[in-house]
């Protein structure tokens, strides 16, 4: 029984690491640019395909592709902010939602058109590698996802605390007008923040491709969970996204085992509703 519980905790934490990875970018965009990025899942899908094609055509290992994917997706995020979000930054929230939903649909269908609906995955030596310690099985690619999620959060926290741009981002998230008065070019910071957010989800895609499959609608599966994590953790809290992701992962693992695999998704949506009712700011958000 203890062994089963330990294994469930491990499964849950590793799964949670993946959820956290995807949510980090979303919470940053949500908190700084104050836009609900409904296309977040599609950027994940794009980066999964990017890593897939790099592996398929040039033999680049997904973990190595991170060095290419992260800068590339930073640029994509920057461009998306400049071209699509900037013009509607002062528009009513409904218009902004339509815009990001529109981006989501365009990307999904473009992917379907160019790459068809086939499931793509990357088969590496370590894809199904499992580390065995004391009767417990730890999936290697999921462990990597977990460690990298921690690493990315740590790196971002240092960036936000120690660098000028990082402080500017925090200032903007805290109080927009004061930031403008302090001489911060908020439009430039929006682009940086969006760029970082998409770079994060880009990293998530490269890390995810050895574990799961790329197909045009894969974004939808993950983005829903990412929204739950962001609300649970508190929007604009990186630590919140990390802890929230881990909590959701563990809850899913336990409810799937003890209740029924049928209901595991339902359980964290119930938690989602409870958070909104009882503590809308989330665990780490400011009220």
């Amino acid at each position: 029984m203890i062994a089963t519980l330990m294994q469930l905790i491990i499964n849950g934490l590793l799964l949670g690491g993946i959820y956290a990875l995807i949510s980090i970018g979303l919470t940053l965009i949500f908190g700084v640019v104050e836009i609900i990025n409904f296309a977040h899942g599609e950027f994940l899908m794009l980066s999964m395909y990017a890593s897939f094609w790099l592996f398929q055509l040039y033999g680049v290992d997904p973990y190595l592709s991170l060095f290419m994917v992260i800068p590339a997706f930073f640029v994509i995020g920057w461009a998306t902010q400049r071209i699509i979000i900037q013009p509607i930054i002062h528009a009513p929230p409904l218009n902004q939602i339509f815009a990001t939903v529109g981006v989501s649909l365009v990307l999904q269908n473009a992917a379907l058109f160019f790459w068809k609906a086939d499931y793509r995955t990357v088969r590496t030596v370590y894809s199904t590698l499992s580390l065995k310690t004391g009767g417990l099985m730890i999936s290697f690619p999921r462990l990597v996802a977990f460690v990298l999620a921690l690493g990315i959060v740590a790196a971002l926290l240092i960036f936000l605390k120690r660098t000028y741009t990082g402080k500017a981002i925090r200032a903007l998230a805290q109080e927009k007008r004061a930031a403008m008065l302090m001489g911060i070019d908020i439009y430039r910071i929006y682009k940086v923040a969006f760029g970082i957010g998409i770079a994060c989800v880009g990293a998530a895609g490269a890390i995810l491709i050895p574990i799961y499959y790329a197909f045009p609608t894969v974004g939808g599966l993950f983005v829903l969970i990412a929204f739950v994590v962001v609300i649970l953790g508190g929007y604009n809290s990186l630590v919140g996204a990390l802890i929230g992701g881990l909590i959701i992962g563990v809850v899913e693992a336990f409810s799937g085992f003890f209740l029924s695999p049928h209901l595991k998704e339902a359980v964290y949506f119930v938690i989602f509703i409870l958070i909104l009712l009882l503590r809308p700011a989330g665990l780490f958000g400011r009220a």
Binding site: N11, L15, A117, T128, F215, G256
Partner: protein
């Protein structure tokens, strides 16, 4: 263009129609998560139509498809409405997915338009007493029952276990397809006095199946019977390997475990898995000489047009369309639902008459499964060296089943052998 449409809408008798085409509605998931197999299935039907067109067409006119995209069940209904009221279709051919088929055929029955189902297997589709619905393929219940029968008649003796002592675990995705197969398997097993130690359903869109893997591990089943779409089936096998879940027989029931992607994704680790589906590659002695020729023509033409040999789903599309274009519509004489109904009910093709080896005879309206091809049946196959071979029932079988499944450790060490 408009004139042709008006003529179609106004006239009931194609003998009067000035149009040169016979237009058939095609409702499949052409986009979205099921697009891969939706398109593949339709491609099989396309070849059937091509073959008829090459020989002069139907009633001297070429068959033309009018497509509707059933990307999800709701859209399938609206597309069906559009095909009937805007495009004037009198016959809708579809659908691959049970949930889409069930929903869309409600529309056709209401409008007294023929719904010709080629490959969606959920039983409820033909349990509504519909007069205008016909289905050529077998039913989900048969898949579930065959899995249990195979476990009892072949697996248990091979393992030297009393069937009533054998532990069975059943897993299925929770839409109409999975639920029908899985619950029928569970019921049949219990009726046979066999032990079903765990039954788990899950959403096929889930990104993590480790709860199912762990629950199965806790019960230590001998046999797993699984009904999965592609992504969940592949995910489960991956996570089963990570968690070192070992069983002695794994029986898939259509979809994932019969697809080329299964072998492509897992290479040697795909081997030894069983799958139940209408089978191409059954013992050729079962087929009539005419059918053998048709099979060859189909495979050649399909390969030429689409670049690969047709597998189960394309073949289901082909058989559905072939029976329609070569047996039913010529007898009906016109694209009129009443005439087509009557013609369909007279069809009587014996065993060996379709490339799957089964015959065709549709249940009459008074039958509880009105519209169902009562002679349809699946077969059970096994992946051996990443190719599928029919192994059961005995008369359809081409090779012997290999039991038990090697353990993951044995696979890792390469200790698997194909002794025939």
């Amino acid at each position: 263009m408009l004139a042709t449409l008006l003529v179609f809408l106004l006239c009931f008798s194609p003998a009067v129609i000035a149009a040169e085409k016979v237009k058939i509605g095609a409702l499949f998931p052409f986009s979205g998560p099921l697009a891969l197999l939706g398109q593949e299935t339709f491609n099989g039907a396309v070849i059937a139509a091509d073959m008829v067109n090459e020989k002069g067409g139907l009633w001297g006119k070429k068959i033309e498809w009018v497509k509707g995209d059933g990307v999800d069940p709701k859209k399938a209904m609206t597309e069906c409405e559009r095909l009937i009221s805007v495009e004037g279709m009198k016959l809708i051919f579809g659908t691959y997915s049970s949930s889409r088929s069930y929903a869309a055929s409600e529309v056709t029955e209401r409008n007294k338009v023929i719904y010709w189902e080629e490959g969606a297997i959920a039983d409820p589709i033909t349990e509504r007493g519909f007069k205008y619905l016909f289905r050529t393929c077998p039913r989900a219940s048969q898949f579930g029952i065959m899995a249990v029968d195979f476990a009892k008649e072949v697996v248990a003796p091979k393992l030297g276990i009393d069937p009533k002592q054998m532990k069975i675990a059943i897993m299925f995705e929770d839409s109409l397809y999975g639920t029908t197969v899985g619950s029928n398997a569970a019921q049949h097993a219990l009726k046979q006095g066999m032990k079903v130690v765990v039954t788990d359903s899950y959403s096929h869109k889930t990104v993590d199946l480790s709860p199912v893997v762990m629950r199965f591990k806790a019960q230590e089943p001998d046999v797993i019977i699984a009904t999965s779409y592609l992504e969940d089936g592949l995910l489960f096998w991956r996570q089963a390997k990570e968690a070192n879940l070992n069983v002695k027989a794994f029986i898939g029931t259509g979809a994932c475990h019969g697809m080329p992607d299964w072998a492509k994704t897992f290479a040697e680790e795909a081997d030894y898995i069983f799958n139940i589906d209408p089978a191409i590659g059954i013992n050729p002695d079962v087929l009539s000489p005419k059918t053998k020729a048709v099979l060859k023509e189909f495979q050649d033409k399909f390969n030429k047009k689409f670049g690969h040999i047709p597998a189960t789903h394309a073949s289901l599309g082909f058989v559905g369309a072939q029976v329609l274009f070569e047996e039913v519509l010529p007898k009906a004489g016109k694209l009129d639902p009443e005439a087509i109904r009557e013609a369909a009910l007279t069809v009587d093709i014996p065993k060996g008459g379709t490339i799957f080896g089964f015959g065709v005879k549709f249940a009459p309206p008074v039958h509880p499964a009105a519209g169902q091809n009562l002679l349809a049946q699946p077969a059970l196959m096994q992946w051996q060296k990443q190719e599928m071979w029919v192994v059961y029932p005995a008369e359809f079988g081409v090779k012997k089943p290999l039991i038990p499944l090697p353990t993951w450790e044995q696979r890792a060490k390469g200790e698997t052998s194909f002794i025939q």
